[in-house]
Symmetry: C2
Subunit: 452 residues, 2 copies
């Protein structure tokens, strides 16, 4: 474990640690598969499985098809998920959009971001282009998640408060780390790659707030920028060694300096182990409510028409997702009453349930309130759902966290099941290759996964 670098420098107020970018690059550059704890490589495989299922379905979603139409596949041998092969850089962009457009991709609470949809497309494109093995790819994934989550924890909550979408911004660092782990052989090139990436880091929450597809683009653009950064750095193009911590660098420009007040996050903690996976294609803040409601449905026998009233008591941020009349499917994904209404009426909340429209009448029976006690539960996402039936019966359930968090993770079989639900007709036996193909080139693995 001697090679793991712990950044103990505290970034507080205007005091910014020196050498952050280089230390992160040292970690990325020196990481080898044998350094990684088995539960972290196992999680990387699970995240990749999850990514594939989500992106394959996302590849036929509206925003994915529009992006494909606008950009074209270009020519080349890179996998463009669901659409054959094309240009390497284009693949990173499109696969990122495909992986993020259903709001079903993995995430990290503390970093407030979705690492997989940025990191994996960059690692995949780099690995296919260079003939890397699947084991190299898993190593790159772990390096990329580490960089993305480190940056997300470092930058937040002040970064988010300013209006930045951490997935786009910190995702760019993660993508560059992953791609440069594969492409660049020496630490200086990785430093340059991070420098080039940091200066491209972008993404405004206004895109999300306004319910637009531009939010989907953040992941794709991060993946593509990261890939470009690694390729440029490999060819000698230079980036700032002080891009994170410098006077005119990322932290100073893009974080409220009082936002980060705790201990600096570690590099080498293998943060991928704390990633969550999702089952509902809606904003993560709605999930504990939905899990609680699903529990009530599962354990009781009643029909939606028998419901008189539903009361959701939850933490403030979740409660603020209170639009009763969302105008686009992107906005439905941010609406607690509508998501919950669909679940209560149909018993499920799959991608196709969101697309089938919704009943405002059911949503109107749902009341949302903030529970002040729940605000005290730091880094938890508590919710209590109470269903009052017309016959006077009261059904209730409480969740402190949604399912799929590291505290209650989904298993391989759960995610295979998610894959199957999202992609009916896909022969899920093929997915076993993800567990077994370490010595194979990634390009071969992708051929096997896409049925050749």
């Amino acid at each position: 474990m001697g090679r793991f670098i712990t950044i103990t420098v505290i970034f507080k107020g205007n005091i910014v640690g020196s050498m952050m970018t280089r230390r992160l690059a040292e970690f990325v550059s020196s990481l080898s598969y044998s350094d990684i704890p088995p539960d972290a490589t196992e999680m990387a495989r699970l995240c990749f499985l999850d990514f594939l299922g989500v992106a394959l379905r996302g590849s036929s979603e509206m925003s994915g098809l529009m992006a494909l139409g606008a950009m074209g596949k270009g020519s080349g041998g890179a996998t463009i998920i669901g659409h054959g092969r094309g240009d390497t850089e284009r693949a990173a962009l499109l696969n990122g959009i495909f992986a993020h457009n259903l709001d079903l991709d993995d995430g990290h609470r503390g970093a407030q971001m979705h690492p997989g949809s940025c990191v994996i497309p960059a690692a995949l494109a780099a690995a296919e282009a260079t003939g890397a093995t699947f084991r190299d790819f898993i190593t790159a994934m772990v390096a990329g998640y580490e960089a993305a989550i480190f940056m997300g924890i470092l930058a937040n909550p002040g970064h988010r408060e300013l209006g930045f979408h951490t997935t786009g911004t910190c995702g760019t660092f993660g993508a560059a780390a992953a791609a440069s782990r594969i492409i660049c052989s020496d630490v200086d090139a990785v430093v340059n790659a991070l420098g080039i990436a940091g200066t491209q880091a972008a993404g405004l929450l206004e895109s999300d707030h306004a319910g637009t597809m531009a939010k989907h683009l953040h992941a794709g653009r991060a993946a593509q920028s990261g890939l470009i950064s690694a390729r440029l750095a490999f060819h000698g193009f230079t980036g700032a060694e002080s891009v994170i911590e410098g006077d005119e660098g990322f932290l100073r420009a893009m974080c409220r300096s009082d936002g980060y007040g705790g201990e600096a996050p570690e590099v080498g903690a293998f943060h991928i182990r704390n990633v969550y996976l999702k089952r509902y294609p809606v904003c993560r803040h709605l999930h504990s409510t939905l899990d609680a409601a699903a529990e009530i449905i599962r354990e009781n026998d009643f029909r939606a028409s028998e419901i008189e009233e539903v009361i959701v008591s939850t933490y403030r941020i979740a409660a603020e997702h209170d639009s009763y009349s969302p105008a686009t499917v992107e906005a439905v994904r941010q609406s607690l009453p509508v998501s919950l209404g669909i679940l209560l009426e149909g018993g499920e909340l799959r991608v196709e349930d969101l697309e089938g429209g919704f009943s405002p009448e059911m949503a109107s029976r749902i009341r949302i309130e903030v529970d002040p006690d729940m605000e005290e539960l730091r880094n938890m996402r508590p919710s209590r759902v109470t269903v009052r039936l017309r016959n006077g019966e009261v059904l209730t359930a409480y969740r402190e966290l949604p399912r799929g968090e590291p505290e209650e993770p989904y298993t391989w079989d759960d995610i295979v099941e998610k894959f199957r639900e999202l992609n009916p007709g896909y022969e899920t036996e093929r997915l076993e290759v993800i567990k077994e193909a370490d010595q194979e080139p990634v390009a071969e693995v992708m051929l096997e996964l896409s049925g050749r």
Copy 2:
């Protein structure tokens, strides 16, 4: 003139005008060639001429060749300046790098940015891909410069103070405006294009500060992001209509809210008329000093070895460019004593003079001081150079602004001369087509310009 929209809303403190993005889109969408004052179209042609000369030389510079090596040209019919043809999106990226890597491209004082290297590559790639005429291209250029400079004035100085490089950030809006003027036919698509662009706006001054090539990438990435935005929007992809002014939008995230305190800049002022052009391949803040020194050299007969001491009295920002031992050619471009030393020794300051190394001895005879009176001259860039010869003679010259500003513009012939100096062997008679080819498709014009 009825179609020009003037944004009179003041952005001050937390008060942000509504509808800024839409109003900008309305201007872009409705602008036609006949609306544009002749001095603005004339300036657009001059900026294009300047761009071509700079980018052609930049296409064989180190960072340009590295980027070309890393990315490849891809396949397609877009002009990749100096390197034939390739993919449209790649062309925008590479031409932006080529145009910006010599620090010789056009700029705007108030906006604190270089619009041409972002706007023109996006407009060019869009025009070639769609068969647009040269007149449409000039119209798109004017729209793009307007958007970029509007955003730059609006965002600065607070944007720059945070550490953002306006060329990369506001350049993305300009590139999207230019490309969408060509690609998108209705205003809603332009709104979406600006929304998609704004959420990709990026660029940290740390890249510049650290003397890295990542600064060159800012222009290329802005051009490419703008082009992508227009293409996505044309295909129905959505972006936030409130991307500039929204609660989680560009101004709030990326400007000090107290940075912008004056009157809001106008849209429809045809800001392109206030663009400056450069003759020395170094930071603009060094130019009035260099012009003053060149005047002294021109009007007096002495040799560099006769110089005992040189005193430069100038404004603070210029005086801060005081590195006496720059380590890279990018850093030489930011060094006042070294740039001036080269000019005094060789009588010229061309691209090749920078690359030939420099004499620290000459630079050591140069003393730089801040003149407090010059600080009072708002929006001027004053400098006085005093050369003291060994024989006791004292030679002095003063410039309030460098040459090439709108107050003392370069002529067509000046810029043809710059073109020729940068690109010996190029038959500059060909450049006349820029004045005459309005009805021709841009693709044809580019063939003529590149000698078919």
